[in-house]
């Protein structure tokens, strides 16, 4: 059974154009559905403004979907702010890109890792101390760093501390939004290995959101490619990154610079991704797509099963 499931979820924001303009609805996330099983990782890739972070916030229950349903462990996600929602916080945790912004600069690492235990009333003081020490050990932080403040740690150490805090309540789901993007390559590898080890040891499910396809490929069991609020391709990361079927995924994968020979010929897209407030008709990708036909301009393609069990939302990809 799936741990987290999103069914036809949209998130609409109202933005105003100019000071006196009329509000324009912006569909940051548009009819997306997916599920994550316990202990598995779904990677979400896409560029700025594609709705990947909004998806993460909706999945966590921090934001209510405008349409569709989010369910966690088979039950509907409670309304934010209610006592049920608060109780559920311990089961769902978030880690994001900037660990310094996520930490309280006046508190020591140990105090911050202990905080969720205090909030959720887990253990007594001595038990909490033991637990904090164990958590810091799990994320590979030396014991003497427990009494340091965030500014005394390196970027990698801070991200480990944030992770220890997220794991304190033994969550079932971790939403990791660009968790290693601010780290140098050698440190990034340390944190990625730690994440996959912790997932294996604790059976945590992950929603791993990143613009970095190489990192997503490394950690994900399944991957979803987003463009302008919609999932355009979803399936096995090996298959998608080796042979993307959607023209946007193809361009995205081909754009990744690699040391050494590349498998897919570079496709350079013209122009910028469109403004979500000004969504092109039909397939949102059609103005930048070299293959677009009349039906692409008229009709929104739905995700449908294609070869090897993956799902693709493109009129030009043969359905399986």
């Amino acid at each position: 059974m799936s741990l987290l499931s999103l069914e036809g979820v949209s998130r609409v924001y109202a933005t105003r154009r100019g000071l006196f303009g009329t509000p324009v609805p912006v569909r940051a996330v548009d009819h997306i559905s997916f599920s994550v099983a316990p202990g598995r990782t779904l990677g979400i890739v896409g560029e700025s403004g594609c709705g990947k972070s909004t998806t993460g916030r909706v999945a966590l229950g921090i934001e209510r979907p405008s349409e569709g349903t989010v369910s966690f462990e088979g039950a509907a996600m409670p309304t934010p702010g209610t006592p049920e929602w608060r109780r559920l916080r311990a089961r769902l945790q978030l880690v994001y890109q900037d660990p310094l912004g996520a930490m309280d600069r006046r508190l020591t690492v140990a105090a911050q890792v202990a905080e969720p235990l205090e909030i959720h009333g887990i253990g007594d003081k001595a038990e909490r101390q033991d637990r904090v020490a164990a958590l810091l050990r799990d994320v590979g932080l030396r014991a003497d760093l427990a009494q340091r403040h965030p500014h005394e740690l390196s970027g990698g150490q801070r991200q480990r501390a944030v992770l220890a805090r997220a794991l304190a309540t033994d969550p079932a789901l971790l939403v990791a939004d660009e968790p290693v993007s601010a780290l140098d390559v050698s440190i990034q590898a340390q944190v990625i290995n730690m994440l996959t080890d912790l997932q294996e040891a604790r059976g945590i499910a992950m929603l791993f959101i990143s613009h970095d396809l190489k990192v997503v490929r490394q950690v994900s069991h399944e991957v979803a490619v987003m463009y302008l609020g919609r999932i355009v391709e979803q399936g096995d990361p090996e298959a998608i990154f080796a042979d993307p079927l959607h023209p946007y995924s193809r361009a995205l994968v081909s754009a990744i610079p690699v040391p050494g020979p590349r498998r897919i010929e570079r496709i350079v897209l013209s122009g910028d991704p469109p403004n979500p407030a000004d969504r092109p008709s039909g397939c949102a990708f059609h103005p930048r797509c070299a293959l677009a036909t009349a039906s692409c301009r008229a009709e929104v393609p739905q995700l449908k099963p294609a070869a090897d069990g993956r799902q693709v939302a493109c009129h030009l990809v043969e359905a399986a």
Partner: protein, 322 residues
């Protein structure tokens, strides 16, 4: 190599007595593309800020930076003013903060034309339009009148590149030019830089943390660690046969896009703090091959192949054909 355009010798920089650059030797030939890779704090940006006299006064700079024989390090401000933005231009990671937010983008590019080529009025405007066209900004006639916040990050970077080209530089130093951009936009900008380099014949120094970007853009790559160049090689050779343990470590730590997934080989520990530099090789504390010999002194370059050298006491020198 032909007579170098820029020749850097034993360049050292210290901030408040703490070393940031610990002896850089680097030549850039006319028209070539050189990559500088390394992680945060390795000195890849400081090298060029120091070379162009852009560091604050608190920085202690020594060594030599010559532009076609002319020493830049102790040069008079009037000399540097002609070099910077004229013969050597630089672009940075964040174009939005490098541009003036309250001036129209066309005016900003025209300013560079006035300073470096003495162009005014209609001549300058025509040249701005040509430059916008050259860097691929569509609808240039309208775009020269808008402000940076009205453009996307990729378009702003194109404006910065147009401004850099305004002085007809012989060398463009691009410091993480695509790091803040999305992947598909990064591909556009890299394509543009490659095309401009061919069109203008300028040399390019590309500073990046991204080994992939450097591999695709540069013939020759220098890997930096803790204020020194530790390996230098033609880019294909470097990525196929890295010789310095740090370069090998960086490549092993990078997830692949193709082939079977493997556990990443992380480099243990972190970069040494400037106040706590190891006595010899700065990488020794993190290196799997380290022996007491590594602490004996800073390893010099060992030639390991054609145009390929590594600063490690454990690499075997190769006989290099002359």
């Amino acid at each position: 190599m032909a007579d170098p355009l820029v020749s850097i010798r034993d360049l050292r920089v210290a901030f408040h007595g703490l070393p940031a650059l610990r002896g850089i030797d680097l030549d850039v030939a006319p028209g070539e593309a050189v990559g500088l890779v390394g992680e945060s704090g390795c000195g890849k940006s400081v090298t060029w800020l120091a070379a162009l006299g852009l560091l604050p006064r608190t920085a202690a700079v020594s060594g030599s930076v010559r532009l076609e024989g002319q020493e830049l390090l102790a040069a008079a401000p009037s000399v540097l003013d002609r070099v910077r933005g004229g013969r050597i231009a630089m672009i940075f990671q964040d174009p939005a903060s490098a541009l003036n937010p309250v001036k129209r983008v066309g005016v900003q590019v025209a300013e560079a034309l006035r300073l470096h080529r003495g162009m005014e009025g209609a001549t300058a405007e025509a040249e701005v339009l040509r430059l916008f066209d050259q860097v691929g900004i569509p609808d240039a006639k309208r775009r020269i009148h808008i402000y940076p916040h009205e453009m996307s990050g990729g378009q702003n970077q194109r404006v910065m590149i147009a401004m850099a080209l305004a002085g007809q530089p012989e060398l463009l130093v691009a410091d993480e030019p695509t790091t803040a951009l999305d992947a598909t936009i990064q591909a556009q900008i890299l394509d543009l830089l490659r095309r401009l380099q061919q069109e203008t014949g300028m040399a390019l120094v590309l500073i990046s943390h991204d080994l992939g970007v450097v591999a695709e853009m540069c013939r020759r790559v220098c890997v930096m660690y803790a204020g020194r160049i530790v390996e230098e090689a033609p880019s294909g050779e470097l990525f196929a046969h890295p010789r310095h343990p740090y370069t090998q470590g960086l490549l092993a730590a990078l997830p692949d896009m193709v082939g079977p997934r493997r556990r990443l080989e992380a480099i243990p520990g972190g970069v040494p703090e400037p106040w706590n530099m190891p006595p010899g090789c700065a990488f020794a504390p993190r290196c799997g091959h380290a022996t007491p010999a590594c602490d004996a002194g800073m390893p010099g370059f060992v030639p390991v192949g054609p145009h390929h050298q590594a600063a490690c006491v454990h690499v075997q020198p190769a006989t290099v054909p002359a």
